[in-house]
């Protein structure tokens, strides 16, 4: 823990620095309703995370925070103490629907999705079905039956794994085109990235992509997907895939109702802070969803502590 002097509590004046995909603000005039932040059940952790519905609920977006310890902003002629940088990027609603389909699938019956996608704790989940992509993409993970004008679905493990495999493959191809280090370079003890010199293996890419996709699925599915990709589970800590590294940041999940712990989780060493109701409303929803970015991209965060 830090031995720094006690800090003053943050003030009421809260704002958020966000990098958002243009489709959130460039909405057609015909669109009804404004974008809204909502809390939904995180498919990986089962607890609340922050998401955004675009105008008219037609699209879903994920909110992730890039957090480095001891940072603040100058915005124009003002200081903002909260040094987080939030990203709002497109999200496939099927990841959030899948846990509901899987739960219902245990009964092995064909059912209307409206009956399946219900959650007392997260009433906003029914809005997922309004997303343009949702109903169109159900066939990726479920068998469909049509009776008259009614559609019924039953989740299929085989289809789900094939769909996830395609997701992993897409991610691999993006990773290859970027210069994000997935292999040897990031494993060195100094965490200095080695870019193109050290060729990452196909397996490095596959494991890294599997780790990224695993952020959106349950632990059981994560393991099944690993088998489906014909990747053995790793036990050697030397070759930790990203999914395992992120375990570190997933640890404090059980403290989810303690809002003051929010910023002390992850790799950061911040002492617990008192937060205003306003800050809580946005901040508390994220326990894992918003903090994993630093774990992926910033292996050096540990150096930041003083």
């Amino acid at each position: 823990m830090s031995t720094k002097k006690k800090r003053s509590p943050p003030t009421e004046n809260s704002s958020w620095v966000v990098i958002a995909t243009d489709s959130i603000v460039d909405v057609p005039k015909t669109a009804t309703g404004e974008p809204t932040f909502v809390k939904l059940r995180n498919p990986s952790t089962g607890s609340a995370s922050l998401y955004l519905f675009g105008s008219g609920d037609s699209d879903l977006y994920e909110v992730k925070a890039f957090t480095e310890d001891y940072h603040s902003w100058f915005i124009g002629q003002t200081v903002q103490r909260d040094g987080r940088l939030l990203y709002i990027t497109q999200m496939d609603p099927l990841y959030l629907l899948l846990p509901y389909l899987l739960k219902a699938g245990a009964e092995g019956k064909f059912q209307p999705v409206e009956q399946v996608v219900k959650d007392e704790d997260f009433p906003g989940c029914t809005r997922l079905l309004s997303c343009t992509r949702s109903l169109k993409s159900l066939h990726h993970v479920a068998d469909e039956k049509e009776v008259g004008s009614l559609k019924f679905h039953r989740v299929s493990q085989e289809k789900t794994l094939d769909w996830l495999k395609k997701k992993v493959e897409r991610t691999v191809s993006t990773l290859r085109k970027s210069n994000i280090s997935v292999g040897g370079g990031v494993k060195s003890s100094t965490f200095i990235r080695v870019k193109q010199e050290e060729q990452a293996s196909d397996e490095d890419y596959l494991r890294y992509a599997h780790g990224l996709v695993s952020e959106y699925i349950s632990e059981d599915l994560r393991k099944d997907l690993l088998k489906h990709l014909q990747l053995p589970e790793l036990s050697s800590p030397k070759q930790e895939p990203p999914a395992k590294k992120r375990k570190l940041s997933d640890l404090p999940v059980e403290a989810k109702d303690d809002y003051t712990k929010l910023n002390s989780s992850d790799f950061t060493r911040k002492p617990p802070k008192k937060m205003t109701a306003a800050q809580k409303s946005l901040a508390k929803v994220d326990k894992t969803g918003m903090k994993s970015l630093s774990a992926f991209f910033s292996p050096k965060v540990k150096q930041e502590k003083h």
Partner: protein, 136 residues
Amino acid sequence: MSANNSVTTVQLGSVSQAVELPIHFLPCEIEHDGPAEVSQYFTSTVKDRKHELTVSFRGRGLKGQEVNCPEGYTGLVLKQVHKPSSDQEDGAVKVSSTFHNLTYWNLEIPPSTDDGVVMAMAWPKLADAIHGPVED
């Protein structure tokens, strides 16, 4: 009633009035929220040498560089306009300013592609891969 019921609306009408403001990401926590004479005491003393920016802030040498928002993305500063008084009440935010690039500062260390902020800018592309529609 569940606390997860409440939502926070983004007031889109505010976008057209939002001005573009310069934004700096500083390697220290400043225990203050509010006005400060940034341009007089900070921006005006920034030196630009061979694409490396330097500035002295509270006697510490900062080195920084400008990074652009990824293509198709815009920087927004969202400000609370309606603060919910409880977990159950809805809130609202407006877009108070925008940015298309930001300047980030390291303490003493020259900026490099290994810097967290630079790497984080790769996230949107990865998100597109993970979340874009797959073919049948």
